[in-house]
């Protein structure tokens, strides 16, 4: 594991993200908002909370298209996406590439949940050496075939970072997971072209 994977020094702050903005006028009217979601280093709980919007999803489906997500079949992120939603922290090469792709193709990027917003549980390994963490997980506590997986898995970074430490983020929705009501509030505000204030409805650890 070498540190050339770190494309960005975790101790260097990125400039403040641009202020969030509503969808652009040309997507109003009959055109539905194109939404993409991805699951980085998290537990998928935020996506479950998204599904917890229950019957409100039916109404939302009239106003937005989920074009890419673990919840749908599409395998490729489209070139033009209105709103990107990222769950989970940046822990590996794969997470970073995903986040960068989202930033490139999404007009507005949302950090959904504490892992994306502040690192949360995945970042609890940060005070330890990566080798020690891998050793503990795959050797010391393994009951059969202790070995550290290297094939088909993305290399881990030494430090787990929140999404905004790697790419600019427009809207932050903390919570572990953010309540379904909070996600609904943020999406409906965006649909209406307003700037949501998630602190009204959720917080760290909520």
């Amino acid at each position: 594991m070498n540190d050339t994977h770190l494309s960005h020094d975790p101790l260097t702050p990125l400039p403040n993200p641009p202020p969030p903005g509503g969808r652009e006028p040309d997507t109003a009217g009959a055109t539905r908002i194109r939404v993409a979601t991805a699951w980085l280093d998290g537990c998928s709980g935020c996506h479950m909370s998204f599904l917890d919007m229950d019957e409100r999803l039916v109404d939302l489906a009239q106003q937005l298209d989920i074009v890419y997500s673990p919840l749908v079949d599409a395998k490729v992120l489209p070139d033009q996406v209105d709103v990107g939603i990222l769950e989970g922290a940046i822990s590996s090469e794969d997470d970073l590439r995903h986040a960068q792709e989202f930033r490139k193709h999404c007009k507005l990027l949302i950090s959904l949940g504490d892992c994306a917003v502040n690192g949360n549980v995945p970042a609890m390994r940060n005070p330890f050496k990566l080798e020690a963490v891998l050793d503990h997980a795959f050797r010391e506590t393994a009951t059969t075939q202790p070995q550290i997986p290297t094939v088909g898995v993305p290399p881990l970074f030494r430090q787990v970072r929140p999404v905004h430490a790697c790419v600019a983020v427009d809207v932050f929705v903390p919570g572990c997971p953010p309540p379904a009501d909070a996600i609904f509030y943020v999406l409906t505000e965006l649909i209406e072209g307003r700037t949501p204030d998630p602190s009204k409805v959720t917080r760290f650890g909520a």
């Binding site: 403040n16 905004h164 917080r203 760290f204 650890g205």
Partner: protein, 243 residues
Amino acid sequence: MPPANPQANVRVVTLTIDGQDLSARADETIIEVCRENQIPIPSLCYLDGLSIWGACRLCLVELEGQNRLFAACSTRVAEGMRITTQTERLRRYRRTIVELLFAERSHICSVCVSNNHCELQTLAQKCGVDHVRIPYRQARYQMDSSHELFRLDHNRCILCTRCVRVCDEIEGAHTWDVMGRGSDCQVITDLAQPWGESETCTGCGKCVQVCPTGALVKQGTSAGEMVKDKHFLPILARRRHAP
């Protein structure tokens, strides 16, 4: 500045806070007047009943005619004072202070025993801290679980010193104090001995009750810690039915 006994001959002053005309006793501090009049001012180290520390700087306010900011907890009111508690500058400073507290040690609300009962967490929400713009220090601090009843987690400590003051001023034990500087600064029991070995601690738990975060907690309150001991039952039952 401990609250003096109310005296009949204390002067009454008039002042304005956020444009509101108010009167107050001349020996009151700005934060006391704000609290009496339901004017919200964030604070962490200030606690009614304890001496003034003035460390957290969250209660900073602006005074008309003065360039520097004043801590509302350690500034007495005066005749004609014009105070502003909510400006863009103050909001920006308060937000940054809360972010610095989150970045300094490990405050992971979702796995903290004080989740939903934490003043730092509530303040973050009130100050609009939905993310921390500065990098986290990722430092690792120790825990002290040596006390039979309580536990200390330095990772959650914000050094407000409420524990130090309540132990000294109210309980009269002065078990707690502060040691070290900068990022090495920590609260200690006795001469930096394990809490469980402290000869001065009375086990009263006042420090735990005033701690604003999850730094001082009761033992047995985190998930999976509830250990039940049914050994008493067969022993008592046997004795009770003994001939």
